[in-house]
């Protein structure tokens, strides 16, 4: 493993200033629950505004609606959005995963069809990975697409699909041929671009423990896909999806989810000083600073075209622990009876969300397994 801090991109200061002005204005309307959910919050109007300001698809070619800026400038945007707790869920997946996938492996037709809409903040994506019998163990996927004249016929069921009920498209990983006897269990999987308005698709929202409906179960019943809905190479879906995950794991969304609580917690502690609180606060701030450096380093590697799969797993592992314990640390400092109502509400919302932090993008056990292999444990 190897972490090198990248240089700050030119113009970062000005970009940050623009973002902060925008977010300060937009943020007036956000309740503690919205801030706590941040990228788990879905707000199409907000995403369209972000798109209008050229902050989605920032690194993509102009031909596809992108803005041809550097990856590190993009990181500036992501950081600022998350630090403010902005509800970025309607464009997050498209900008982070689905768009880059299509740009890298999609056909020219797919690029022109999809990317500009994502960049405008108008097309929302979800990722169809998990299934009832395949959570962490994706090789066990059963949803399948069969070749038929003119395209593919999709049947099966995806679960835990975030925002499927509000999205336009899903990138689905499904089986297109059986795993070869004695061969890799990961062979025979392919990725498809699925328009969620197609007939044969039914979407059932699954309410979560906090009462929100971000998850879904999506059923495919003889859904007809065109030839041009296959993304990348047939049978290469596993490798494609895996490199997508690596990309996903290093972003600031892996350590900033609880940040709004820290920021508000500082004010609560300044207003009602708690003896000795500075030590815990300093420990959280130090770790935040280190995590930001780790995440930026991976950003720099991605920018240079390197493959930081393990570094990304490390960021997510250390970052998730931080996100999960941060509300607990604050709770250990601030007695709820003495805390401002807004912070109390934010902490209550976070408490119910934190269990998800170490699930999305791979469970802690899976990530640590990846890291262990890289360390040379065999």
């Amino acid at each position: 493993m190897r972490f090198d801090l990248p240089d700050t991109p030119p113009g970062a200061e000005a970009l940050r200033a623009e973002l902060r002005a925008f977010l300060a204005e937009a943020g007036r309307a956000w309740t503690p629950d919205i801030r706590a959910r941040s990228w788990m919050g879905f707000d199409r109007d907000f995403s369209r505004e972000v798109g209008a300001r050229s902050w989605i698809g920032m690194t993509w070619p102009a031909a596809y609606g992108g803005h041809e800026r550097s990856g590190l400038e993009r990181v500036v945007v992501l950081e600022e959005m998350l630090a403010a707790g902005a509800p970025v869920g309607a464009h997050w997946i498209g900008d982070r995963q689905s768009g880059p996938l299509i740009l890298r492996l999609g056909t020219e037709e797919q690029r022109r069809r999809i990317l500009p809409g994502i960049a405008r903040g108008e097309l929302a994506f979800c990722i169809g990975l998990s299934e009832p019998d395949a959570g962490s163990d994706l090789a066990n996927l059963r949803t399948k697409a069969e070749r038929v004249p003119g395209g593919w016929k999709l049947n099966g069921r995806k679960i835990w699909t975030t925002f499927a009920h509000k999205s336009d498209y899903m990138i689905a990983l499904v089986r297109t041929s059986p795993a070869p006897e004695g061969g890799s269990r990961h062979a025979g999987l392919s990725q498809f671009l699925v328009d969620l308005k197609l007939s044969g698709i039914s979407i059932r929202p699954i309410r979560d423990l906090a009462g929100a409906d971000s998850f879904n179960e999506v059923t495919f019943d003889d859904v007809m896909l065109g030839e041009d809905d296959l993304v990348g190479a047939e049978g290469a879906g596993w490798a494609q999806a895996t490199s997508e995950l690596a990309f996903e794991r290093s972003g600031p969304d892996r350590y900033l989810s609880s940040f709004p609580a820290l920021s508000q917690g500082l004010d609560a502690l300044a207003a009602n000083p708690v003896p000795g609180a500075e030590v815990s606060v300093g420990r959280m701030v130090a770790r935040l600073s280190a995590l930001r450096g780790m995440s930026l380093s991976v950003g720099g590697m991605l920018e240079r075209g390197e493959d930081p799969a393990v570094e990304a797993a490390l960021v997510k592992d250390v970052g998730n622990v931080f996100e999960q314990v941060l509300p607990e640390h604050l709770r250990g400092l601030l007695d709820p009876e003495d805390s401002p109502a807004e912070l109390r509400a934010l902490l209550a919302a976070l408490t119910q969300l934190t269990p998800t932090f170490s699930l999305r993008g791979g469970t802690r056990e899976i990530l640590r397994g990846i890291i262990a292999r890289d360390l040379g444990l065999r």
Partner: protein, 327 residues
């Protein structure tokens, strides 16, 4: 990593390896100074590495120096080269000619003080150089010499520029210890991985057990965090000078201290009984980790400082402050 830095790191790696692995550590813990290791490093001009070229030094950046300190930490190198580098950098910055030989930092619990010919003291911006006239031997938990010194009349003096600040010695030492911790953690992680692949229990290498894998993976995350925090701190010193890098240095020392505690515990858990024997090399590194987290300010002390600052600045400034410090 720049090419210069890679070459330097490789050179120092070779010198320390040539000195015989843990042999010099055993030597110093038995009360002897590993003179040949010191001489080898000195001959490379390392003592003057942080002194600008125009002042007769090597003119390394703090980033380069931190990389070297990490290598020294990785081998536990029991010579006060990092401390001497810091002392020389400060003397030179204050316009004082740098004397040959080991430099002691301060007079209480001075690292390897008994082996120093001169000591550097800082009072506000005023830096003074003193001959060492006597030493009451002491040691840290790593059994490295930490001696109370009797110093003679100052032999030279100068004023540190504002960019260094009145806490330049403490901050420099904190950065050194954080970098050494990064190196020592890298080392014990590698040792633990090797051991896990070698040691068999219940018919297979213990590295096959998920509990061991998960622990070592968690440790790797801590090691990475310290390395990044140290790089960030060194970069801040290069960009803004020691005086203005207290925040980043403090962050590095906090993360290093926490990681040292966790890493040493994890490595010992993986090594089990063999790891706590004197014959095994592990403890040379874990004892140093326990010692180094206390020196140059504990993680608690630095956390209190950073935390006070963050509380005084308020929640709305936390993120802007953090990003404004990008070097």
């Amino acid at each position: 990593m720049s090419e210069l830095r890679s070459i330097l790191v490789e050179q120092v790696e070779r010198l320390v390896a040539d000195a015989g692995g843990v042999a010099p550590l055993r030597e110093v813990e038995a009360g002897h100074f590993p003179q040949s290791l010191w001489d080898g490093l000195s001959e490379q001009g390392l003592a003057l590495a942080l002194v600008p070229e125009e002042a007769g030094g090597v003119g390394l950046s703090w980033g380069d120096a931190a990389a070297l300190w990490q290598v020294l930490g990785k081998h536990g190198a029991p010579v006060p080269m990092a401390e001497t580098m810091l002392g020389a950098a400060l003397l030179s910055a204050a316009g004082v000619e740098v004397p040959d030989g080991v430099l002691a930092l301060g007079e209480k619990a001075a690292p390897f003080g008994r082996h120093a010919t001169n000591a550097v003291k800082l009072d506000g911006a005023r830096l003074t150089l003193h001959p060492v006239e006597g030493a009451t031997p002491g040691a840290n938990i790593g059994r490295e010499p930490r001696d109370d010194l009797t110093l003679g009349q100052r032999s030279a003096a100068g004023i540190l520029p504002n960019s260094h600040g009145p806490r330049a010695l403490r901050q420099g030492l904190a950065l050194i210890r954080a970098a050494q911790i990064a190196g020592a953690l890298e080392r014990i992680l590698a040792l633990a991985v090797d051991w896990a692949n070698t040691r068999r229990q219940f018919g297979r290498p213990i590295g096959k057990f998920q509990a061991v894998q998960q622990q070592l993976a968690a440790m790797a995350g801590e090691v990475a965090a310290v390395q990044v925090a140290v790089s960030n701190a060194a970069r801040a010193v290069d960009a803004r000078g020691l005086a203005e890098a207290g925040f980043e240095i403090g962050c590095a020392k906090v993360v290093a201290g926490e990681a040292a505690t966790f890493g040493a515990a994890t490595a010992h858990q993986v090594f089990a009984a063999i790891g706590i024997t004197e014959d095994h090399e592990l403890h040379h590194f874990t004892r140093r980790l326990w010692a180094w987290r206390e020196e140059g300010g504990t993680d608690r002390a630095w956390a209190a400082e950073i935390g006070k600052l963050a509380l005084a600045r308020g929640g709305a400034n936390l993120w802007p402050d953090l990003t404004a410090r990008d070097a």
